[in-house]
């Protein structure tokens, strides 16, 4: 009997924990959106302290960082999945990818500061920020690429190679298209993470924003939304409505995260359905 009581008690506790986790999230969203949504007016974006520059910089730096990291990340992922023989070299590559994935972002930030700000003498620039951010993206891209390519059935490769296609033709025409939904999910994941990154950008892209609208000069300093929230909350300038800016920025960031999460699930599901439908015929 005691065992059964313990079982019932444990079941209740575990349900309790699940409810706790979910209510934490709900409380987070209500707290952030409840405080911030009222401030998201057009003045919040375009006013004298408006954040449209930061919003633009966030996406601009994200875009550049993906441009830098995707070719290398996808290439390394393809190598690890399709070619990598079991040798010392691939073992080292795997170990270093895993290590890169656990490097704290502030260490990336300081590394970027040494290389781009000081050694190359660029100062705080969008370019340096994006290049350093690319390093953060890389290990996740490699892993995601490797995983989605591994999910492609072996028979696809064998069929293609048996028809006389080269490795490259097989990868380009068979494996990559089949793995596309997984790749897109992975890239969205990477993008969502890069969009909220702060510690790296404080030390590389700086905390200033261009006065021009949509300034695409990569050698300008570029404060992003996340950095802006940090600045508004941790050393607010006296005389500004820093608290309102922080509330609004936090809400905007959360909305962006939610939108990215939706992107994460919907298009990949849709693509999968479409591709599977095609393959069935």
């Amino acid at each position: 009997m005691k065992a059964r009581q313990a079982d019932r008690f444990a079941t209740m506790m575990l349900w309790g924990v699940a409810v706790l986790i979910l209510s934490l999230l709900v409380a987070f969203l209500i707290q952030i959106l409840g405080r911030g949504l009222p401030f998201l007016t057009s003045d919040f974006f375009n006013g004298p302290d408006g954040v449209r520059g930061q919003l633009f910089n966030s996406f601009y730096i994200l875009f550049l960082s993906l441009v830098f990291s995707m070719p290398v990340g996808l290439g390394a992922g393809i190598y690890m999945s399709e070619y990598a023989p079991k040798t010392k070299l691939t073992d080292i590559i795997r170990l270093s990818t895993e290590s890169l994935a656990t490097v704290p972002s502030i260490v990336f930030g300081l590394f970027g500061m040494i290389v781009f700000v000081n050694m190359l003498g660029l100062g705080f620039t969008i370019l340096g920020g994006a290049a350093t951010l690319a390093l953060l993206n890389l290990p996740i891209l490699v892993r995601v690429t490797e995983e989605s390519l591994q999910a492609v059935p072996r028979s696809y490769r064998e069929a293609s190679l048996a028809l006389g296609a080269t490795m490259w033709q097989t990868i380009r025409k068979v494996i990559l298209p089949t793995a596309l939904p997984g790749l897109i999910t992975g890239i969205t994941l990477v993008a969502g993470r890069a969009l909220g990154e702060t510690a790296i950008l404080i030390f590389t892209a700086g905390m200033n924003v261009s006065r021009k609208l949509f300034d695409i000069n990569p050698f300008a300093a570029g404060e992003t939304l996340a950095v802006h929230l940090f600045a508004a909350k941790s050393n607010p300038l006296p005389g500004t409505n820093a608290d309102q800016i922080a509330d609004g920025t936090a809400a905007l960031l959360i909305i962006m995260v939610i939108v990215f999460n939706l992107f994460l699930t919907i298009p990949s599901r849709w693509l999968q359905k479409r591709l599977l439908g095609k393959n069935k015929v």
Binding site: P104, T198, I202, F230, N261, L264
Partner: protein, 293 residues
């Protein structure tokens, strides 16, 4: 025709080299990071003794005192609080998801934990300042509420998704026969979970905990916003203090590149880097142990 064919093989070889060089480039990056951050950081020891840096808690760079013990203690303290709070909750969540949750609950919890993982760390810090610090101030009657407890609570929430998803994977990877055998022997579900499933999945769960610790100790923005940023040894859980990461953010801007002070900050980053690398080696050992089961 032969011309076209050689073109095809050329492409094949070229793409192969490109893929290999990308992979090698990725591994070179970690070497570069260790080299540059390490060189910059270790040059601190030209002016400061190793002994002083690791065992003194007197940090006043203006008068040449570089004791980083307070920051190291702050980092370890907040990480331990985070694991003690977030570890059990995350593990319970994972057990719930793997063994109990009906499909519709799982359909809610999965995206919910993904969302937790997607929230930027500054936003966690923002919630820390606006909510958690007030909470710890009220609960403990401390003057500010800033300190290791507030940072630990924020970190505990931040590491939940890591603990939950990795532990759940470990539990799901177990062969179904384990559970069936235990239940067939008349064990209750809870007995099966506690005596069979969790012990069998322990290497994977250990990996989850180690990676969560790595995330917690390296977390910067959220911690910096709620730790109080006073370079003093933490005298209690709710006294303002600093961690390795928060101190780098606080002081990096005021120090000229190449000065001893600046180098000492790089040394702190190098310590964080070494901790992260040690954790990866621990994870590898844990998973190898799991594979040999």
């Amino acid at each position: 025709m032969p011309h076209r064919k050689s073109w095809v093989y050329f492409n094949d070889r070229l793409s192969r080299y490109l893929f290999i060089s990308s992979a090698v480039l990725v591994s070179l990056i970690i070497v570069c990071i260790i080299w540059f951050v390490g060189m910059q950081g270790l040059s601190t020891f030209r002016e400061v003794s190793i002994f002083e840096f690791f065992t003194s808690s007197k940090w006043s760079p203006d008068s040449g005192q570089f004791g980083a013990l307070s920051f190291i203690a702050g980092s370890i303290g907040t990480t331990l609080i985070a694991i003690l709070l977030g570890g059990p909750i995350g593990l319970a969540g994972a057990v719930f998801l793997a063994e109990m949750a009906p499909p519709w609950v799982r359909a809610i919890m999965r995206p919910a934990t993904d969302l937790f993982a997607g929230i930027p760390s500054v936003v966690y810090g923002y919630v820390g300042i606006t909510v958690v610090v007030g909470l710890t101030r009220k609960l403990t009657n401390s003057p500010t509420g800033y300190g290791m407890l507030a940072a630990g609570i924020v970190l505990a929430i931040m590491i939940l998704p890591t603990v939950i998803s990795l532990s759940e994977d470990a539990l799901r990877a177990l062969p179904g026969t384990y559970k069936e055998a235990s239940l067939a022997l008349g064990a209750t579900r809870w007995q099966t979970i506690r005596r069979v499933l969790v012990p069998a999945a322990s290497p994977g769960i250990l990996t989850a905990i180690i990676l969560a610790m790595a995330r917690a100790i390296g977390e910067t923005m959220a911690v910096q916003m709620v730790i109080g940023n006073s370079p003093r040894f933490p005298s209690s859980l709710v006294s303002p203090t600093s961690t390795l990461t928060s101190n780098i953010v606080m002081e990096m801007g005021n120090t000229p590149f190449g000065s001893t002070w600046n180098n000492a900050l790089f040394l702190m980053a190098f310590i964080l880097l070494i901790i992260a690398l040690v954790m990866i080696i621990l994870v590898r050992t844990a998973s190898r142990k799991g594979a040999s089961h």
